[in-house]
Point group: C2
Chain length 330, copies 2
Amino acid sequence: MLYSMKQTAIGIDIGGTNTVIGVVERSGDVLLQKSIPTATDGNALAFVENLSGEIRALVATVRQTQGDVQVNGIGMDAPNGNYYKGTIECAPNLSFKGVVPFVDMMRTHFPEQETIVLTNDANAAAIGEMIYGGAKGMKDFVMYTLGTGVGSGIVVNGQLVYGHDGFAGECGHTTLVPNGRNCGCGGKGHVETYCSASGIKRTAFELLVRDNAVHSLLATKSFAELDSKFIYQAALQGDAVALEVFERTGYWLGMAIANTILHTSPSAVFLFGGPVAAGELLLRPTRESMEAHLLPMFKNKVSLQPSQLHAGDAAIIGASALVYAEKTDN
Amino acid sequence: MLYSMKQTAIGIDIGGTNTVIGVVERSGDVLLQKSIPTATDGNALAFVENLSGEIRALVATVRQTQGDVQVNGIGMDAPNGNYYKGTIECAPNLSFKGVVPFVDMMRTHFPEQETIVLTNDANAAAIGEMIYGGAKGMKDFVMYTLGTGVGSGIVVNGQLVYGHDGFAGECGHTTLVPNGRNCGCGGKGHVETYCSASGIKRTAFELLVRDNAVHSLLATKSFAELDSKFIYQAALQGDAVALEVFERTGYWLGMAIANTILHTSPSAVFLFGGPVAAGELLLRPTRESMEAHLLPMFKNKVSLQPSQLHAGDAAIIGASALVYAEKTDN
């Protein structure tokens, strides 16, 4: 009986607006998932209590509808999630203030769970890629996540790099252009100001300004409205400015990725996030720039590819995969 | 009798001009060392044979003069030394062409030695720092070596990062300034064009040009003559241009180091090489720029410090330490 029981882990993706909870099978299949609003009142204790109730309810439903399951642990990702301490620390887009001992708070609700782990979303995506995606069997690879910001997860010798304090892998905030665009973090010229979805938008307006390109399709949208999806569609219609946006973005992204490759020499770099839907329109110039910015002995060795995780489920699958990464480590 | 025997490893530093061989005790003390010219005729087989003879002679002399010693392995560093393959690959400043299977060639002369290891000089310096220097007991740290170029060695979870192909840790060739100064490797704006000893000299001339500073002490030397030591001495005498050179260099170096910290989150960064003799004149602006370029959650956590290895012996000590790093891994 025990042997036929489905093995699962809970994956939780805590975002600025919503928190998604999934019961994920060992195969990577999501048995059931639910989205709840992330607390906006700063009350982490109440939020954890609410979240715990939702988890129990979700597992109960799975058991009623799909047969008994074994829950092997809880994996979570959150902005500024610290792997070592199990804390969420001063996350700018969450309402929780200061340092929240999130894993400890979860433990009071799930004393029976040995494995409760927290990290940030890019690290979770990297682990997800390693356990369920294109990085299966790879010992050294890097994940770049392109969204509102740019995140990254670095795997060396088969292990995620957390660094001495649990915050490693912030490639999005390395300086790409000294004294360049203002970054949300207060810095200047960071990778995410050029390569995130909003970085792409900023590049579009930079080109509109440079060329006074009033006839571009991109000139029909306000700064608040324009997004990378619209730019992609304009590029498909042959809009010259939109096409150049992808060339420029690929140039910056390839340079950033080359800098990362020169650090840890991965065999592959995976790209995840909305802008990656542009496919070769983004990947080709990125690959060209990456190769151009590598030392000769690194050239033509590193595979640049889109993530193989399903976009919709990737966050909870990645979070759930943390549980298995944990069990393999020991 | 066996227990009183001194435990040693052979450390070999293969440079463009000279190759230094040392018999290094487990404590890090160099019992005896010798420098021989590195082959300039491209004949690696003959060079390895010569080198092997010199090693045997050196060990014999140590045994005659200092009592019997146990030799536990041979650690070597060379430009473009590949840890995994034991090869020296297309090193621009060595006469050997293509891919030289250096470790295999050494094995034919030392079949009794189980541990024969090769990597590049910055990686060897990092291992030396970990086993004999300021990084003792650290799990996550980075070594930057400032010389003709800029090298680096990255340690994560107590292990040197070699990457998928053995060439990781080339921070000196990450792009610091897009379309910046020409680098010897063919790239542009690399860290080493700003932060190496020659990068410092280039900055000096840039400032002389900017200000037409004919009265600076630095204006008395030709481009071929000026070196970072002279700039340091001029700075000590209050020369305004020389002082600004260190401010600018620290600014660039701090930015480069911050980029590395954002990748692997080390607890310390060590600096090694000639320019580090300038002490706080270089370290203060580097530290300020490093902190300024870090995300808030990384600030005031990373110790920036000069290497604690003795400059004269560091290369062979680091190379010999490779042997012990190897034995600890297993």
